[in-house]
């Protein structure tokens, strides 16, 4: 049997026709991928390489139709919550309520990449005083002002405190422009002092109980706002059910990650894994469909693993990837040059952990929120990365820098030092802009040097 080969957009259209001739039945949002170029202006798709499975087709179509889903939901009388910054917690609460859906306006981060900057969102942000010294999330400002990328939410919620300065500053600018925001405090996670009451967070870290209680109180306050929006209080019963459903998604994703990252060859490409992981934070506006999409990817993965069908050569260098990439094409490039992602920390690792179901639900969510790798010490984050590198036998680490991002000023060096010290692995810090194309020659040589170093270590 021939191993699955990644497809270009054009090739996917041909394959789509073939699949349809063979009887493929798609969900309502299905269709050939190239229509997103024509209808939405998602030009970047023309330069990406995709997994050839129907499961991947469903994943991409699901991702790229979120805006339509949000508008339909609103048209049907549903209420929309724009959740900003916390990455994974408030959406669990919002989805627990009837007729409320949450989405991340932060997702506009990727719009300039997807539209190859043809959207003008960065220019819009420039005009609003937020220039290229900020991270690509500044596109969100333009998206709010133009109104073309997502509907205006009925409620905006944003975490503050131990969050990046870029987002904090941009969200504040948004509020100054007239978009009221319900802020909630996220303290910087710290280690408990000696003798201080503490608890274990999902993922194994410890935090002082007082911090958990503070976050729980804040989440309860936000829960009351959400209940007001829904016209129905967010009771513990509803929230417990919401947690249970969110955990179904997280379980699927955990299994998928373990299978893909743990297998000797790559059963799925890095790009599809990045998109799949992102579904965990807000379910792409449809929690139940998220579960079906992930189940499809898992079934495909299992089949390929059974049949030893790898999308990349098993010889590919196993790379652990840190931070999301502003240009999705970067994930393709790594594979083109002989690498493969065998684990990742896209800053949302807390949204992949199961939310404890044996605790009152707000307490459980508070613990999960505090497990966010970005609210604690970068050293904690580095330790988790090291543990995952060990688990998935990584041979190299890439820390992708996000242009303008305040946390990138320090974290790369801290992670590099600790990974070197503990594992001796080569580490590359690589700034990925929203469009990597002009930088390809230099990026290529740096990436190849990293992979070559990793291969040399194999021979020793």
């Amino acid at each position: 049997m021939t191993p699955p080969r990644k497809l270009s957009l054009e090739q996917w259209d041909e394959r789509w026709r073939e699949l349809h001739r063979g009887g493929l039945v798609e969900p309502a949002y299905g269709g050939p991928l190239s229509r997103h170029v024509a209808e939405e202006g998602d030009l970047r798709l023309r330069h990406l390489a995709f997994d050839p499975s129907p499961a991947a087709l469903r994943l991409w179509n699901f991702l790229l139709t979120e805006n339509q889903r949000l508008r339909q939901f609103r048209a049907g009388g549903g209420r929309l919550v724009g959740v900003m910054k916390d990455l994974g917690t408030v959406p669990v609460m919002a989805f627990a309520l009837p007729a409320v859906r949450a989405f991340y306006p932060d997702g506009a981060w990727w719009t300039p990449c997807l539209m190859e900057c043809g959207d003008g969102l960065f220019q819009h942000a420039d005009r609003l005083g937020i220039d290229a010294s900020f991270c690509p999330v500044r596109a969100m400002l333009g998206a709010f002002e133009t109104g073309g990328h997502f509907p205006r939410p009925d409620l905006l919620v944003c975490s503050a405190g131990a969050v990046c300065d870029d987002f904090s500053a941009i969200a504040q600018r948004l509020e100054t422009l007239g978009y009221a925001i319900a802020w909630w405090e996220m303290p910087r996670r710290r280690n408990p002092d000696e003798g201080e009451p503490a608890c274990t967070l999902p993922g194994g870290l410890q935090a002082p109980q007082s911090q958990v209680e503070g976050v729980r109180d804040e989440l309860e306050r936000i829960g009351n706002l959400l209940g007001g929006l829904a016209g129905c209080p967010l009771t513990d019963t509803l929230l417990t059910e919401g947690v249970r459903r969110a955990n179904q998604v997280r379980r699927l994703l955990q299994t998928l990650r373990n299978r893909v990252y743990g297998s000797p060859g790559a059963p799925l490409p890095a790009l599809e894994m990045l998109v799949a992981e992102m579904l965990a934070i807000h379910f792409c506006s449809d929690r139940e469909e998220t579960a079906r999409v992930l189940a499809g990817l898992l079934a495909e993965t299992d089949r390929r693993c059974r049949e030893h069908q790898w999308v990349l050569s098993p010889e590919a260098v196993r790379v652990f990837w840190v931070n999301p990439v502003a240009d999705l094409r970067a994930m393709n490039l790594l594979e083109d040059w002989g690498g493969r992602v065998c684990g990742a920390d896209f800053m949302i690792t807390h949204a992949l952990e199961l939310i404890p179901e044996d605790l009152p639900p707000c307490e459980a969510l508070a613990r999960t929120a505090l497990a966010d790798p970005m609210v604690g010490s970068t050293r904690d984050r580095a330790d988790r990365i090291i543990a995952q590198c060990r688990q998935f036998a990584a041979e190299a680490v890439i820390v992708s820098r996000i242009p303008g991002a305040s946390h990138c000023a320090r974290e790369g060096e801290i992670i590099r030092q600790r990974v070197r010290q503990e594992l001796g692995l080569p580490v590359l810090e690589w700034e990925v802009p929203s469009l990597v194309d002009p930088l390809l020659p230099t990026l290529g040589s740096r990436l190849q040097a990293l992979l070559e170093t990793a291969r040399l270590r194999r021979r020793r």
């Binding site: 937020i130 503050a160 405190g161 500053a169 504040q172 600018r173 910087r188 991002a405």
Partner: protein
């Protein structure tokens, strides 16, 4: 022993009450503001703080969480500094009891750190006179803000944050026809006061120092009565206040929490209320926004300042010089020229 603090919203009287000399880090003559050569996007001020921590192993340091640069700078510190450094979690929100409790808890935690550092936990009879002395110093400086030049107030504030004392102000400045300006933004250490000279040389007159450790940092009004006397502390903002208590730490925490007026707060309306009132009262005609490369919190405010205050804003990036840079001189001169 010196204990440095990186935000004026950490009460120096609490450090002093434990037997240490509090030092606002921005007032330190040893603060080295070279831009970090390697790590792009590193704020020179935050980098200078880290260098100072490493250069002063015998001192204590209270870093604050108010920005990514300092928060993650703390993570980057050498393990050897672990016993002498403390990260104070300054809440970003301020309208909820949770934020207040967080601030109170942090002050108590700081107290325990200072005891570990070799200090003595103060009782009320020790805390009260120290709070009173600091309050008197701030009170004198607040009064001076109405009369002396902005430049003089900058010097006085820096001296206060270095020694805890208030030097006397100066006579009101005669009207010279110079353009009244506000300086707003990140910390302005003495090594960069050349900027103030540039402003004056170009025909400007600083009437409002809204930098991090300038006039705003004098806001807290701490009235800790001697043991046995009832507390009667007015609120500065009208925010809900918990019941009076004999607990001096809580009173101190509440006074600072209620006065906190900073760019990192969410929402940052207090900062704008504070600015609006003074800009109007002092007839400010233009604003210089001073910020360090990599400081998103201040940089993002340029447009909002223009819109909210209806005044022209000159965005000046801190560079590696003493503030006298030719580039700055030209831009300041052009800005003031346009305001005449």
């Amino acid at each position: 022993m010196d204990v440095f603090y990186t935000s004026p919203w950490v009460p120096p009287e609490w450090i002093a009450a434990h037997g240490f000399q509090p030092r606002g880090v921005w007032s330190s003559p040893a603060l080295d503001l070279r831009a970090a050569p390697l790590a792009e996007g590193v704020c020179a001020f935050a980098a200078g703080v880290l260098r100072l921590v490493e250069a002063r192993p015998a001192a204590g340091f209270v870093l604050t969480t108010h920005c990514d640069q300092l928060r993650r700078g703390f993570d980057a510190l050498d393990d050897a500094t672990g016993n002498s450094t403390f990260l104070f979690n300054l809440p970003a929100t301020w309208q909820t009891p949770t934020a207040r409790r967080l601030y109170q808890a942090e002050l108590r935690r700081l107290g325990r750190f200072l005891v570990r550092l070799g200090g003595a936990a103060p009782d009320r009879s020790r805390l009260q006179p120290i709070c009173q002395a600091y309050e008197q110093a701030r009170c004198r400086l607040r009064a001076a803000a109405g009369t002396c030049s902005g430049r003089r107030l900058t010097e006085l504030s820096a001296h206060y944050h270095w020694t805890g004392e208030a030097k006397s102000g100066s006579e009101p400045e005669p009207e010279t026809g110079a353009v009244p300006l506000a300086l707003v933004g990140g910390p302005l250490p003495p090594s960069l006061w050349g900027l103030l000279e540039l402003i004056e040389a170009a025909g400007g007159r600083l009437v409002l120092d809204g930098t991090e450790a300038g006039e705003r940092s004098l806001l807290p009004q701490v009235r800790l009565h001697p043991p046995g006397e009832p507390e009667n502390q007015p609120t500065s903002t009208g925010a809900p206040r918990p019941p009076d208590t004999e607990d001096g730490v809580e009173i101190l925490a509440n006074a600072y929490f209620d006065a906190l007026t900073a760019v990192f707060q969410r929402p940052n309306t207090r900062l704008y209320q504070w600015l609006r009132a003074r800009v109007a009262a002092r007839q400010v005609r233009g604003i210089i926004l001073w910020h360090y490369v990599g400081c998103d919190l201040w940089r993002a405010e340029a447009q909002s300042l223009r819109e909210a205050l209806g005044l022209p804003v000159l965005l000046l990036e801190a560079d590696e010089t003493d503030g006298h840079s030719l580039r700055h001189a030209g831009r300041i001169a052009a800005f003031i020229e346009c305001l005449r």
